[in-house]
């Protein structure tokens, strides 16, 4: 039985003197009836797929709707010119988030984390950091366990699908997972991971799912940038010793309540939010021609 709350996982960590990622790995091995080594190998496969996915980006490719595709390349060129507002590292995060989002829209290979629409958040945060600071690969795989464990708790208490809980459940959850994961890489303990996740989730609470034409393209691709930036900011706050006044489990419960109250037009139906704009209607009409 997977963890129902962060509190439950934290209790196990304290009792057994293990780190959060280890508690997740032990639970996975137990639940699927595999060895810890096999579980690790499967996680390594996810990590490799994230690395390969970023390298496979092609700025020439456009999605079938022709709405997205070249954004990753544009951001790369802008960053290389050396005059960004947010600095080189964050510009790389931005360009990686866009690349994965574009890959997804252009039918290339991605890792759903937690969903295909939010597939850019985790690699943008983790792969960029890994390549910039040359962290051992083991640390990154541990971080993926942290993210997966958080995601599972969110799935158990709330949801991960935009159709169920709006984009807060997709990009929001992805951002919470990435915040905890990068916090682990930077040496944060279980309490700090929880704080990082809680702060990231709170910042994106209420985010609606409003894809133009029902396609995972607009505003999804660029929202991966928002999720990645938010994750890094939340992790830095947690590492600075800033605490979430509301415990992470209660933040997740609040997210569930907000999602339940969200009008159906704002939950992946392609009717509300920017999907309901005049321009969106024009785009949909053009696509149907």
């Amino acid at each position: 039985m997977s963890y129902q709350s962060m509190e439950e996982a934290q209790i196990r960590c304290e009792r057994e003197g293990i780190q959060f990622w280890k508690a997740i790995q032990l639970e996975d091995a137990d639940e699927r009836g595999v060895t810890q080594e096999d579980s690790w190998k499967e996680m390594q496969r996810m990590w490799q797929a994230m690395l390969d996915g970023l390298d496979a980006y092609d700025p020439e490719l456009m999605s079938r709707s022709r709405m997205v595709g070249k954004e990753g390349g544009l951001m790369d060129a802008y960053r290389e010119a050396g005059d960004t507002l947010c600095g080189d590292f964050m510009a790389k995060v931005m360009s990686n988030a866009l690349k994965m989002g574009c890959n997804n829209a252009c039918m290339k290979r991605i890792v759903a984390a937690p969903t295909a629409g939010a597939c850019g958040v985790m690699p943008a945060v983790l792969v960029t950091y890994y390549r910039e600071y040359h962290v051992p690969e083991e640390k990154m795989i541990e971080a993926l366990y942290v993210a997966a464990g958080i995601g599972q708790i969110i799935a158990n208490r709330a949801y991960l699908a935009g159709a169920s809980g709006g984009c807060q459940a997709e990009i929001g959850s992805g951002s919470g997972m990435a915040a905890a994961a990068i916090c682990h890489v930077k040496g944060g303990d279980t309490v700090k991971l929880g704080n990082a996740c809680a702060m990231a989730l709170k910042n994106l609470m209420g985010l609606v799912c409003d894809p133009v034409g029902g396609l995972v393209e607009v505003p999804c691709v660029k929202r991966n940038v928002g999720g990645a930036f938010n994750a890094i900011a939340a992790a830095d706050m947690a590492l600075a010793g800033i605490e979430s006044q509301i415990p992470v489990d209660q933040v997740i419960d609040a997210m569930k309540e907000v999602g339940d109250k969200m009008d159906v037009s704002l939950r992946e139906t392609g009717f509300g939010g920017v999907a309901g704009s005049t321009r969106a209607a024009e785009i949909v009409e053009r696509m149907n021609m």
Binding site: D28, R109, V111, A155, L160, L215
Partner: protein, 220 residues
């Protein structure tokens, strides 16, 4: 809820776990149930599959699955061309299916020398699916576990024969469901097993009176 690799994963070709990865899986499971690559496939898309399927590559993913491609196969976007190269004829159309899940596909598979097969399945998100109709009979399975599917005449003793054959092969039954179209008509048994069912046990079952077709889907 599934494992942590349903949260972090699957590795898939975009853009949508329900509309692309799920669609590829529907095609793949259909092919496995048919037992071979169809020579002709007729595909109907319902609800959201029909409305946003084109932009999500649902059409290409379904055909890719029928060609035996997995949800992470990079050839999915080019599956129409692959079908042409391999001589698989196909058509795709929208269709309103009464009371069906919004992400539903219906597939009719044909090939020379075998009975055509019709399946209806829907995608539930995260790349996972449910098969809900097989040759006109309501069923309910995911294909995630080892699954034995038996089509038989609805008469006494057929379930016993299956149970005995599996026991003799030392196969443990995890779950078992039985469905039929009408009393004394045709029935379908869906048996999830802990082990792989060997070819020999399947042949033995297929040779029995009243058992029409036996198919096995290995867990994937």
């Amino acid at each position: 809820m599934g494992s942590i690799f349903d949260i972090l994963g699957p590795v898939m070709v975009g853009p949508s776990s329900s509309h692309t990865a799920g669609a590829a899986r529907i095609g793949m499971v259909a092919r496995q149930l048919f037992g071979r690559q169809p020579e002709k496939a007729t595909v109907y898309l319902h609800g959201s599959f029909a409305a946003t399927g084109k932009g999500h590559g649902t059409d290409r993913a379904l055909i890719a699955g029928l060609l035996g491609m997995k949800p992470d196969d990079m050839r999915i976007p080019d599956s129409f061309q692959v079908a042409k190269d391999e001589g698989m004829e196909f058509s795709i159309a929208s269709k309103e299916i009464k009371e069906a899940h919004p992400n539903t596909a219906q597939i009719i598979m044909e090939a020379e020398g075998v009975k055509p097969m019709k399946i209806q399945a829907y995608s539930i998100g995260g790349g996972r699916i449910r098969v809900c109709k097989l040759d006109g009979i309501d069923v309910n399975f995911s294909g995630e576990s080892n699954t034995l599917i038996i089509r038989n005449v609805d008469e006494p003793g057929r379930i016993k024969e299956v149970a005995v054959a599996l026991a003799n092969a030392e196969i443990n039954i995890a779950t078992m469901q039985v469905f039929r179209d009408k009393r004394g008509g045709y029935a379908i048994m869906v048996v999830e097993t802990d082990q792989i069912v060997p070819q020999k046990a399947m042949e033995e079952l297929e040779s029995k009176r009243g058992i029409i077709r036996v198919k096995f889907l290995a867990a994937n």
